[in-house]
Symmetry: C2
Subunit: 273 residues, 2 copies
């Protein structure tokens, strides 16, 4: 019994990842480093497992031996390198308060140039969304409601920010997110005769305004709304009616919630057909 | 010119709040202390201003002199004590990465006992919502859609957690949030013949299910959903249809978004009437 206990202690404390490797993974929290290395970090058992199952390339799989042992045979081999770590090591690398059991360092997919972006089907366009949690939940809502394309203005927070990836809960696997000049993009939408729906404080109630199944849903900054220079491209002004006469604390909805409600309403129209 | 510069330096660094007071305000981040002191903290210029304007009692108004000078005459007098502070002092007290200009320490309103809770109109019931951001955004969505009553199971995160208050963006002023035994509450709803709508992964599509303007909208825990023992009270199982066939990263919607979509759908029915 004594021997077993001693062995267990050794396994738990055994360092298995170099300090420079830990520092490298941590450095990927910064956009500058991600841009140079063309790598980003996915964290959490469920998200890492789903990423592995999607068959996309993995540079490093950094995980507790229990996690590595738990995934289907062959999946860990998808990683160029699998690095077993202790919980303490994982906690060092993690951006989360309560680290999970696995982190994957994966390549940033090749991005198309902003000027090549052409509106397809029903897509969402985000003007200056700054909060990582908001971008992440918008991507999650878009994936749920079948919006497979999101155009971000260059001022939006980076998709590969760890907090964005975390908030998507894996939905980034199903939505193409591209960055570019929003004016150039909306100009193209206009040339194609596509409607551009803006969500505003003042506008037609989204519940009874005609909505099409192609077009652009334009969402603005968390506090400033949609940039003035983009308003010329808007063909329909939508708003989410407020069902209260309260005077305080009801200025607006959270950007993620507003997006989810509008996406839901577009989806409902298609659903009811 | 030199004298002016020196004076400005002195004003900026002048300590205006005692260390023990700073520690007291910071201690209110802990539920145990809030329960004893019956005080909580509101942070942010807009929220503090709206709280003052609502005419509710304020124990301490802790703010930069510029903020105190900017609010309408008489409003600062609503506080038992107004404490001007430097930015550095405010940053110490703040729970935010980027502190604002004002913090208010205010009394927790007298709570009714959980057993006195009776369902009224259309209300939301939250079972084991643990994430402060989720509770806050659910309150914000409820206020927007005219749901003025939220019942939280005793396992839910505390309303007066600073992150919850922050995420409400002031909407806590317009929604009565009460804690109690969820079984007792739902038992009462059943006795009154009120419908209990549950939002689930499997259920009737919320878009074309009959919805009433009185009843209980029951929302479950972020990962585990609604507790098994509560399902006996559910009269209608609702779900938000998924508009994708993707295999990965689309297990669920964020709890706040799901709540917002369901509240919106109840409101829309009333709106269209």
């Amino acid at each position: 019994m004594r021997t077993v206990a001693v062995q267990a202690k050794i396994i738990i404390d055994l360092p298995m990842i170099s300090r420079s490797r830990i520092q490298f993974v941590m450095s990927l929290q910064r956009k500058k480093v991600r841009d140079i290395e063309k790598l980003f970090v996915i964290e959490g058992d469920k998200m890492v497992r789903e990423y592995l199952m999607s068959g996309k390339p993995v540079r490093y799989l950094i995980a507790k031996p229990e996690f590595i042992g738990s995934i289907p045979a062959g999946l860990a081999d998808c990683a160029d390198e699998t690095i077993p770590v202790t919980f303490r090591e994982l906690a060092k690398i993690s951006t989360l308060k309560t680290p999970h059991n696995a982190i994957a360092v994966v390549p940033v997919p090749e991005a198309e140039s902003g000027h090549d972006i052409v509106p397809v089907g029903l897509c969402a366009a985000l003007d200056f969304i700054q909060d990582p949690g908001n971008l992440g939940t918008i991507i999650r809502a878009a994936a749920w409601f079948g919006i497979s394309e999101i155009i971000c203005s260059n001022e939006c927070v980076d998709l590969y920010n760890p907090k964005v990836i975390q908030a998507t809960m894996g939905a980034f696997l199903n939505v193409t997110v591209r960055y570019g000049d929003m004016k150039v993009f909306l100009e193209k939408a206009r040339k194609q005769g596509l409607p551009v729906y803006a969500t505003l404080t003042e506008g037609e109630p989204v519940y009874d305004t005609g909505l099409t199944d192609t077009g652009v849903i334009l969402l603005g900054n968390e506090s400033r709304g949609i940039s003035g220079e983009l308003m010329q491209y808007v063909t329909t002004r939508l708003s989410i009616p407020k069902f209260t006469t309260a005077r305080f604390g009801i200025d607006s909805l959270n950007a993620g919630m507003a997006a989810a409600i509008v996406f839901s309403e577009f989806a409902r129209r298609g659903y009811s057909k």
